[in-house]
Point group: D2
Chain length 330, copies 4
């Protein structure tokens, strides 16, 4: 079976998914929709698919699944429409910035027996997958303490930040998901600190640019997250998991693995400077997992519930900073 | 000038300092005191010094300085006695487990115009010193976020733990000092989580074996500390500092820098398995700094005030865990 | 302009090039030829091209260029035929195992004003390219000494070895090309040692499995090459260049950049176990360079002359081992 | 038993050995001799020993062993004198630059049943010892191919070079010894190339500054040595051994294990810039091994025969360069 795709949104991330779908032998990109005709046409021309409206894709019999890459505030509505239309849905994170809206959306998906995958791409990074596999293979025993470092090369425009839901819901949410993925047990408490150290305009916009978070599970497992909107040396993405028998860590990635040595010392190049080059394989693996689950009718992961759980941790982190205390999560 | 030393306590750490003093060209080990005659005699014989009582050392005209390596509950009293006796004092951490007692002791030192150095040996590790120098040299701009990882190869006996003041005052206190040393600004809040993941007997003794701490300064600088009483791969001691212009980190140390590669992969040996081999140079540098300050009459660092500040952070961490909230420190 | 391709040979390496051509936006795979219909059909079906005979491809007006992936003993003939037919030719190394035959072939290419690129794929590895760029950017000053390590995960079948021309012409030839690429000056002498240490059957077949080579240029620059047909830890491919101002090196590559630490030490996974996964990007870059040169009418590199030069070094190495002396090359 | 030492020569390396002897609990430095009174007095004062003449030391009943750190051209004579005097002898390499003289000297040692250790300090480096142990423990199976990289931070004065016997006898000789130590089988052939790439004055003095050497044993094991008189990034000392089951390598050493990351990449500091700081532990271990062998009456290694074997390989390398061929060694 070939899974036939409609792509909603032809922007930056839409292009990534168009390429991943087209390169996958079990999938076919049938149509793309975008209010900007030029963007839709560019994808249509590059990958040999049609341009259709969202409405038309919704009613297209030749489309089995959609990839939602539209603005965040349209996600929940589109998920509901396409779940009702019987299409499998892959949606970029987040489902919505409001937990009540996310819960309502997940209800609709459940009632329509829909399929929904949320785009936590990092779970599909080959290096992080190898870490997960090392844990599953018993290499480190029981997981006890997780450290996640996630630093962006540079801050996004303040306009983006204003619409982002704040650093915890926009950036840390990936790390909350990763912590859940690695801890193997739900966090029950969140403590966070946050500050504006990089750009005062971010503070004026009501957000932070440098945050630290502690999570703890019922049995006492702990996760620490360190986030910054700036890393002069590139896109810093590390995880380190300590267990009862040992430790496993994923190293940073750089485009060129060379080293120059001279009187100043030994220098390796900066890391990737962009999430798309850093996570190229993760995006392809993610879509492949979605296609495989749709084809085989198996459970989809990460699910809407995973999206909701990460959002609740983000909300708790926001409260922890405001109230200066540890916040319990159900 | 040669600084003439009396050593109080001939146990494990006493031997380390006896060796460091003896090997230092500007110092001379004159006498050692210990209630266990065999221990004192062993040091006397190895380093060619006399065995005296503490009382005799206190009144010895041929002794300029003492190194206090006796049990913790004797530290404050001995510091006061020897400050009053006009001897420069190097005391192993902590001064005391009770902040009021520490404050009283520091008062006595101040009133007697005494000299007191507290044994936060890690400040003198050549690798951590190089990190500090990189910061001072402006290599990373303004310090913003610090991550300290400190994991012991194995837990001490439960009997030790009962007398230790708990993991925050016994183990994390080194990391609190290191955070202060590196942040360059006093922490104003502490959030901590703690659990018993390794050995239930530690929990029965009222302590934890796995803890995570967040510190924040008034300007928003943050430090994260991760501690465990167990690391199967050796003594894990890392620091990583992010600043406005970049990052500097100190790597772990191992006794043998080799790598074996075969079908299982590339394997480097475990780290040092003991704090004394890991920090051999730090102990020698520490005593050298004390000797130099005594000789030249310069300020001594880390001082009693540094010991007190770290203890207050430890107390705040204990409260944070108990009360489930961020604790402000003056 | 789109460069339209015919693929000669649908075996293992043919598939690699079929994929690279098809994925390149400036090229189109028009036809494939292979005596094994199933192999040709598989490529035709996967990439939407036709199956034709070599004769038909030779006379096809809709084909601008060919990729020769047929057995080695057909290379020179096919290069000549397609050069005469006015097609640009990309040929897998080697052109031939006999230098006289290679020279004759290059003559034909020259007389027909043909375009010929020889498949020294490693020049296009992004890490080795970054090394070359570091040299070109003056990072290490004048190149002085080069060390190349090239070890295969395992020996090929003895049947292959018998037809291979021997380890120097089959395996070391890549390193001879890399040495020429990096030294920036032609070697004038070759010293080699060789032994059978891995598999006696290789010796019975008249070949070696473990060889070491020294090259020197007229001005005294030196290159050392270490080759083995076995590396239990994966495909070992390193280069290290020392210059008047410093050193630049390319590190090995592994599929998963993780590290597991426990009582046995710190272990990273083995390297790639296959040249195709190790050099995936190199193959794509190589074809892209060929396409670009054909499109723009620019010089092609590595050329037939490069293939010839490397072969002459291989011949000299064979002689050096046999005669126990340094062999001068013109 | 305490081994009582006389030190002959109070120069740079003499100081290293004075310190190592004095710090060793099983040895005592009794006397030092040097024609420069100031140098001898400095050591006498620092370590509490007497200043005596060489003649007096030779006849001193309170001296069991000597360390010879005098100029090279005095070594063989002094070894013979002190062997005849019944003192155990530790002599800095080389015994002499002439093999016939070395053979005669070894004869005298044998006839007098003397004890002689030659100062190939690198065998006692803890990292190289760990490599040797990994081989002995069967971690890599049978040794097959060895690569030794040895690059000095900078060239010595030309005056030194003139008296040095040339780079092969002065510098590469350490690597010849290391190759023998690691191969576990005697080399039977030597091929070398050599050039002047760094400083023309070195060429005018009749020497080279950049050399490459291939060694092969009777069974086909191979060693490659790369030497340069200049390394801008510090003292480059690496060994890598490939065996039938895997590889073991010793990494370079640097004084500070930190890393700074910024827009220019990730930079670790240069290596040690001096052989004395790089090999501090090796010098102490070396003297400890000598003391232990003298105390216990066990065999001494490396012996005079080891010094002779390395010198013969150096002589063969010189001939190989001159004659442009592989040189067989007995």
């Amino acid at each position: 079976m070939t899974v036939r795709f409609g792509l909603l949104g032809a922007g930056r991330i839409g292009k990534v998914h168009a390429k991943a779908v087209s390169a996958n032998g079990d999938a076919k990109l049938v149509a793309v929709a975008d209010p900007f005709a030029a963007a839709a046409n560019a994808i249509a021309s590059a990958y040999g698919c049609e341009v259709r409206t969202i409405d038309t894709i919704e009613s297209s019999a030749d489309i089995d699944a959609v990839v939602i890459c539209t603005p965040t505030d349209t996600h929940a509505d589109l998920i509901e429409r396409f779940a009702r239309a019987g299409k499998a849905v892959f949606c970029e994170k987040p489902i919505d910035l409001d937990t009540a809206r996310v819960e309502a959306c997940i209800d609709v998906v459940a009632k329509t027996k829909g399929k929904l995958m949320v785009g936590f791409n990092r779970r599909f990074d080959p290096h992080f997958m190898a870490v997960r596999k090392a844990i599953d293979d018993g290499k480190i025993g029981d997981v006890e303490m997780v450290t996640i470092t996630s630093r962006d090369p540079g801050a996004p425009p303040v306009d983006y930040i204003k619409r982002s839901g704040g650093i915890f819901r926009d950036m840390t949410i990936h790390d909350f998901d990763m912590a859940r993925f690695l801890l193997g047990e739900e966090p029950v408490s969140v403590s966070a600190t946050a500050a504006v150290l990089i750009d005062k305009a971010i503070g004026v916009a009501g957000d932070y640019d440098s945050v630290s978070v502690l999570l703890q599970t019922a049995s006492g497992k702990q996760a620490m997250i360190s986030n910054s909107r700036r890393a002069t040396y590139g896109y810093d993405q590390r995880i380190e998991i300590h267990g009862s028998k040992g430790m496993v860590a994923a190293e940073n990635q750089r485009p060129f693995s060379i080293e120059v040595a001279n009187g100043d010392g030994y220098t390796r190049p900066p890391l990737h400077d962009f999430f798309m080059t850093r996570y190229t394989e993760a995006y392809a693996n993610e879509i492949a997992a979605f296609i495989s689950a749709v084809e085989k009718g198996t459970d989809i992961s990460p699910s809407g519930a995973d999206g909701l759980a990460a959002l609740k941790l983000a909300d708790a982190a926001v409260r922890s900073v405001k109230e200066g205390k540890l916040i319990s999560v159900a």
